[in-house]
Every structure is written in structure tokens, then in C-alpha cells.
């Protein structure tokens, strides 16, 4: 979470500087700058995810050397899951908590002509994002371990794509549906990366 925050900080620093250096009045330019800022932020997030991976690898080695049986108590998969989850949680919380706080207060949604579904779509989008971050974390760490760089590129690409799709809001059909499809696909991919398979699922269900 800390790493995500630092990446957000740097990205907003860049955006802030660019806004101040540019023309305040031009709405299109501001819009463009915002998109630029968002893209930069996505890239920085992935960079920091990589940095966090490196840090965890180092810590993992340290833990392994001092543990009793030579293996670290936390597997890399667990670390990947936790790191993805924490990125997701902090990203989701940052995206949605002010909206939640406002939703308690008096007001009417979309009174100025915006979509009245703002809150509920925000909720769904945030959920999708959190899940996506978790899946990306798992896939990312696994790809770094096995040095499959095309996987890495795919993760970064899908992150950019998702973020870009949100720029199509409030045209919700075009943004929500694809994002959920992406979430599903990424989820399946992460599941198979983490070692799951149809047999595992069947075994899990039959044990009950």
C-alpha cells in the first residue's frame, strides 16, 4: 500500500507540475493533461509494483536463510497475492472513499445532467479494480519469477486498457462491460498461474 501511495504521489506531482505549466483555461488541454496524468500514474504503479517485487525477493532470501528448514515461511505466491490485494485495496479506497463520504450527505445524484447511476457504477468499477489489482499482482510476480516478459507486458497493457476504458465514462456500456470481461479473463489467468486447474476445483468442491 505504501508503494502504491508513493507512486500516486509521484504521478500527481508530475500532473500538478504539468497543469501549472500549462494554460489553465483551455478545457480540452486540461482534459488531455488529465489523461496524460492518469497514464503516467498507471505506468508508475507498475514500476512500483516491480520495485516491491524486488524488495520482497530480497526479504524472501533473508527469511529463507534464517529459517529452520531453509525455506521461507511465506511462499512467493502468498506474497504476490498479498501485494496485489494491498495495491487493490489502497487504490480502491482512494478512489471511492470520498464518494462514499459524500453519499451520506444530502444531495441529488446527477442533478446537473450527469448520469444518475454515478454511485452504483463507481461501486462496481471500484470492485472490478480491486479484483484486477489482486490478479495483476499474482500474474506479475509469477511472470517476474519465471522471466516471462511478455506476461509482464500484457499486465501493463491491460492495466492501461482498463484505465483507458474508464475514460469512456459515462458511456457505461462501453466501459463497464469490457472492464468486467477483462476482470474475468484476468481472474482466470491468475487462477491458472497460481496453479489451479479444473481438477483442483472439482477436488475442492467434492471435499465439502
Amino acid at each position: 500500500a505504501f508503494f502504491w501511495l508513493v507512486s500516486l504521489l509521484l504521478a500527481s506531482l508530475i500532473w500538478f507540475v504539468s497543469v501549472h505549466l500549462s494554460d489553465r483555461e483551455d478545457a480540452k488541454l486540461q482534459h488531455g493533461l488529465l489523461i496524460f496524468g492518469a497514464a503516467v500514474s498507471v505506468l508508475l504503479q507498475e514500476v512500483f509494483r516491480f520495485a516491491y517485487f524486488k524488495l520482497l525477493k530480497k526479504a524472501d532470501e533473508g527469511l529463507a536463510t534464517i529459517s529452520e528448514d531453509g525455506r521461507s515461511p511465506i511462499s512467493l505466491r502468498q506474497m504476490a497475492y498479498v501485494s496485489g490485494l494491498s495495491f487493490g485495496i489502497i487504490s480502491g479506497v482512494f478512489s471511492v472513499i470520498n464518494i462514499l463520504a459524500d453519499s451520506i450527505g444530502p444531495g441529488i445524484v446527477g442533478i446537473h445532467g450527469d448520469s444518475p447511476y454515478y454511485f452504483i457504477t463507481s461501486a462496481f468499477l471500484t470492485m472490478a479494480l480491486v479484483l484486477l489489482h489482486t490478479f495483476w499482482g499474482v500474474i506479475f510476480f509469477d511472470a517476474c519469477e519465471k522471466r516471462r516478459y511478455w506476461c509482464l507486458g500484457l499486465v501493463v497493457g491491460s492495466h492501461l486498457l482498463t484505465s483507458g476504458l474508464t475514460f469512456l465514462n459515462p458511456w457505461y456500456e462501453a466501459s463497464l462491460v469490457p472492464i468486467f470481461l477483462i476482470t474475468l479473463c484476468t481472474g482466470l489467468w491468475a487462477f491458472f498461474t497460481a496453479g489451479g486447474s479444473f481438477r483442483n476445483i472439482l477436488k475442492c468442491l467434492s471435499c465439502k
Binding site: A1, F2, L5, L8, L9, A11, S12, L13, W15, F16, V19, H31, L34, I35, G37, A38, S41, V42, Q45, L63, I66, S67, E68, I90, S91, V93, F94, S95, I97, N98, I99, A101, Y118, T121, S122, L125, T126, L129, T162, S163, T166, F167, N169, P170
Partner: protein, 468 residues
């Protein structure tokens, strides 16, 4: 907390707040208690020493290294556990403070300032405001320094009664007066009708149980809960009565002071710790949050108490004849003080234990009992002042930030990460460390950065419903 009583008559608003000395104290007092709990660790340290005395040189090196490695490994393992055990109370304290600030408007209303910060911040020019806040911070810090030095002097000249009286009066004030005000404000916010008799009964019970728990014996959880509550109350008072710029300046200067006072050889807190160690005694209870005693309680519950306690005492006897009674006392009514790792290799205690008897006892001990007693010995203590300042930072962030929840969350994460790092350093250096600097620095950086940089960005993104 200790100075509260001394300043009662002088306040315009009757709100006392000085617990800075406690804070710094807390950063150092731990040492002596830490020392007490070092037995198991020293025991294991003695192992290599005793073996070097009695065995051929070639084996010694291996044994020593192995023991040190095992030692470190256990350190890190238990270290992680104790980090988590400290996260929970710090988080709870912050949650209480933020919840109160968000709901009870009393604590964000400006009702004047403390006598310690006489210069107002409602000035015409920015320069004037800056100057005033610098002066305010300077006055506050000098008060803290004076109080700390006074405390150290009192301790050096063994005026224990004075110190105890001071502590008791200030915790009395905190438990009764401040919680009465807090309760009153909460009732006002939620428009709850309440009569004086019920309130008197509630406050009386709360206060008396609190006094007993903190200064004497009580269930560990209850003591921890009370310590968290009084830290939160104190932090709320600070948030209310310190004007903005002064508050941030004070936070910054206090972390620098903390660093200096604990680490410099002539620092008052370090002298306090060393004096306490020389005298082999515990420092003041009621000013430290401790995470250790939980093991003691658990063990007492699991085994029949009569069996367990004598056996523990007997093992202590073998290993630490000088410290046995102190151990008992300390574990029974431990307070805690600042941040120290309980396995400090203290040479002063070592020699006492390396008698043939203790060596035999150590070597004869089965390994599982060693590990089962280690957790009991180890634990981390965090000073209440640290709790208070963390909560002040987060509370101020939630009260006055334009980014609202984002800023609060960012500061919260920053402080926790700072705490993690500090505990890591503690595990590496194994001596008293100031808990404030790293966390407060991170917290301040994140506060100002999030408020000014991230907030507009996230706002714009949320406005267009973009997600990153």
C-alpha cells in the same frame, strides 16, 4: 501527563496537556524494564559464554555462531509478531481520534488556545503568522525540555514519591476530568438526554477502574484499552487547542528532539535510562504501552497457575538471582516505556548469571521450555507519547485537510510504515530508539504532499469518473 497537576490553576480553559515529558520518558524508561525481561535472552547469550569457558576452542566458534543465528532468527520471528501487536493499538487509537473528530464538532471548534501557546495565529500577514507559530512551538518545546530535565533530576536524586505523586495526579485528571468533558460533548452531539447522577456514576467507575488498572494490577487487555483511551483523549485535547501551523511545527520539532534526547550521550532521556539500568530497577508504570504481558496471562490460563508460577520462578532463580523479584513485579504490573526490544545484551547483567549453577541450568533446559518462555520475555513497548503524537497527526489531517479521507488514510499508512521501519531498526540495533522521528517524518511528508498534490489530481479523476 505528569505535569498536568502542576499547571492546573493557570489555564484559561482548564485543559491540561503536558505529557510530553512522559512521551520522552517513555522512549527511554523502557530500558530498565527491558532489561528485566532479558533473562531468557541473556540465558541464551550465556550459553555460548559458558561454553567457551568449558570447551575446546574449535567448538566454541561454531556454537557461538549457531546460537547467535538462532537468536537472530527468533528475534525476527517474534519481531514480526510484535510489530503486528503494536499495529493494533496504534490503529485503534487513531480510529478513535478520527471518529471523534469527524462526529463531535467540539474538537474542531476554535475555543482559544492553551497558555503554552500564547501567540495567536489569526494575524494579518503570513509572515506574522509564521513568526507567531515559530514562537509558540519554541515555547512549547522549551516547556517540554524543562519538564524532562526536571524529571531526570528528580529521578537521579531518588525523589520517587514526588514522581509517583505527579503521575497519579495527572492520570487522575486525565481519567476523570477529560473523559467527563468528552462524554459531555458526545452526548451533546447525539442529543442524548442524561442526568448528572448517571454520568457521575459512569465517570466514577471508569476513572477508578482506570487508576487501578494503570497504576496497579489489572487484566492486560483492560490496561491496554485504558492506555489507548487516555492517549486518544490527550491527542484530542492537543488537536483542539493547538492552532494549525503551531501544531505541525511542534510535531516536526518534537521528532527532532526525540531523536536527540534518546540517542545523544548527554540526552536527558538517555541519562534516565542509564540511571535506571544502573540501579537495576523498573521505571514508572502507566506511561508505556506493553505488548508482552499477554504471554504471561496466557500461560497462567493454560496451565494450573500454581504449577506454572513456581517453575517459572525457579528457572528465573537459577538464571537471574539478582532480578527475580523484579521480574515478578515487573511482569505483574508492567507499564512499559518507549520502544525497546527486550533482548538487549546487557553486559551488566550477564556476569551475574554466569555461575556454574546457571550454566548447568541453561544447558539442562529442554529446548521447548526455552522457546515457550522466550515469548514471555520478549515484547515491545511503545511510549504513550508516541501514541499521542501519531494520533495528533492523523487527527489533524482528518480535521483540516481538504482531501479529507484520502489524506487521513495516506498519513495513517505512512505512520504505520514508519513504525514498521522503526521496529526493524530496533531489532537490528537492540537498544532504546526514538519512535517518533521516522513515522512523523513520513506522516508529515505524506500529509502535505497528499493535501496539495494528490488531492486535486484525485478530485479531477473522480469528477470525470476516471480510474487509474
Amino acid at each position: 501527563m505528569t505535569e498536568l497537576s502542576a499547571h492546573l490553576p493557570q489555564f484559561q480553559h482548564g485543559q491540561l496537556t503536558e505529557n510530553f515529558p512522559d512521551n520522552h520518558l517513555s522512549n527511554t524508561n523502557d530500558n530498565s524494564e527491558r532489561r528485566r525481561h532479558d533473562n531468557s535472552d541473556r540465558r541464551r547469550n550465556d550459553n555460548p559464554e559458558s561454553e567457551t569457558n568449558g570447551q575446546p576452542q574449535s567448538n566454541i566458534q561454531q556454537v557461538v555462531e549457531q546460537d547467535e543465528e538462532e537468536d537472530e532468527e527468533l528475534t525476527l520471528k517474534y519481531g514480526a509478531k510484535h510489530v503486528i501487536m503494536l499495529f493494533v493499538p496504534v490503529t485503534l487509537c487513531m480510529v478513535v481520534v478520527v471518529a471523534t473528530i469527524k462526529s463531535v464538532s467540539f474538537y474542531t471548534r476554535k475555543d482559544g488556545q492553551l497558555i503554552y501557546t500564547p501567540f495567536t495565529e489569526e494575524t494579518e500577514t503570513v509572515g506574522q503568522r509564521a513568526l507567531n507559530s515559530i514562537l509558540n512551538a519554541a515555547i512549547m518545546i522549551s516547556v517540554i525540555i524543562v519538564m524532562t530535565i526536571l524529571l531526570v533530576v528528580l529521578y537521579k536524586y531518588r525523589c520517587y514519591k514526588v514522581i509517583h505523586g505527579w503521575l497519579i495526579i495527572s492520570s487522575l485528571l486525565l481519567l476523570f476530568f477529560f473523559s467527563f468533558i468528552y462524554l459531555g460533548e458526545v452526548f451533546k452531539t447525539y442529543n442524548v438526554a442524561m442526568d448528572y447522577i448517571t454520568v457521575a456514576l459512569m465517570i466514577w467507575n471508569f476513572g477508578v477502574v482506570g487508576m487501578i488498572c494503570i497504576h496497579w494490577k489489572g487484566p492486560l487487555r483492560l490496561q491496554q484499552a485504558y492506555l489507548i483511551m487516555i492517549s486518544a483523549l490527550m491527542a484530542l485535547v492537543f488537536i483542539k487547542y493547538l492552532p494549525e501551523w503551531t501544531a505541525w511545527l511542534i510535531l516536526a520539532v518534537i521528532s527532532v528532539y526525540d531523536l536527540v534526547a534518546v540517542l545523544c550521550p548527554k540526552g536527558p532521556l538517555r541519562m534516565l535510562v542509564e540511571t535506571a539500568q544502573e540501579r537495576n530497577e523498573t521505571l514508572f508504570p502507566a506511561l508505556i504501552y506493553s505488548s508482552t504481558m499477554i504471554w504471561l496471562v496466557n500461560m497462567a490460563e493454560e496451565d494450573p497457575e500454581s504449577q506454572r508460577k513456581p517453575s517459572k520462578n525457579s528457572t528465573y532463580d537459577k538464571k537471574a538471582p539478582a532480578n527475580q523479584t523484579q521480574n515478578e513485579d515487573a511482569e505483574a504490573d508492567d507499564g512499559g516505556f518507549s520502544q525497546e526490544w527486550q533482548q538487549q545484551r546487557d553486559n551488566r547483567i550477564g556476569p551475574i548469571e554466569s555461575t556454574p549453577e546457571s550454566r548447568a541450568a541453561v544447558q539442562a533446559l529442554p529446548s521447548n521450555s526455552q522457546t515457550s518462555e522466550d515469548p514471555e520475555e520478549r515484547g515491545v513497548k511503545l511510549g504513550l507519547g508516541d501514541f499521542i503524537f501519531y494520533s495528533v497527526l492523523v487527527g489533524k489531517a482528518s480535521a483540516t485537510a481538504s482531501g479529507d479521507w484520502n489524506t487521513t488514510l495516506a498519513c495513517f499508512v505512512a505512520i504505520l510504515i514508519g513504525l514498521c521501519l522503526t521496529l526493524l531498526l530496533l531489532a537490528i540495533f537492540k537498544k532504546a530508539l526514538p519512535a517518533l522521528p521516522i513515522s512523523i517524518t513520513f506522516g508529515l511528508v505524506f500529509y502535505f504532499a497528499t493535501d496539495n498534490l494528490v488531492q486535486p489530481f484525485m478530485d479531477q479523476l473522480a469528477f470525470h469518473q476516471f480510474y487509474i
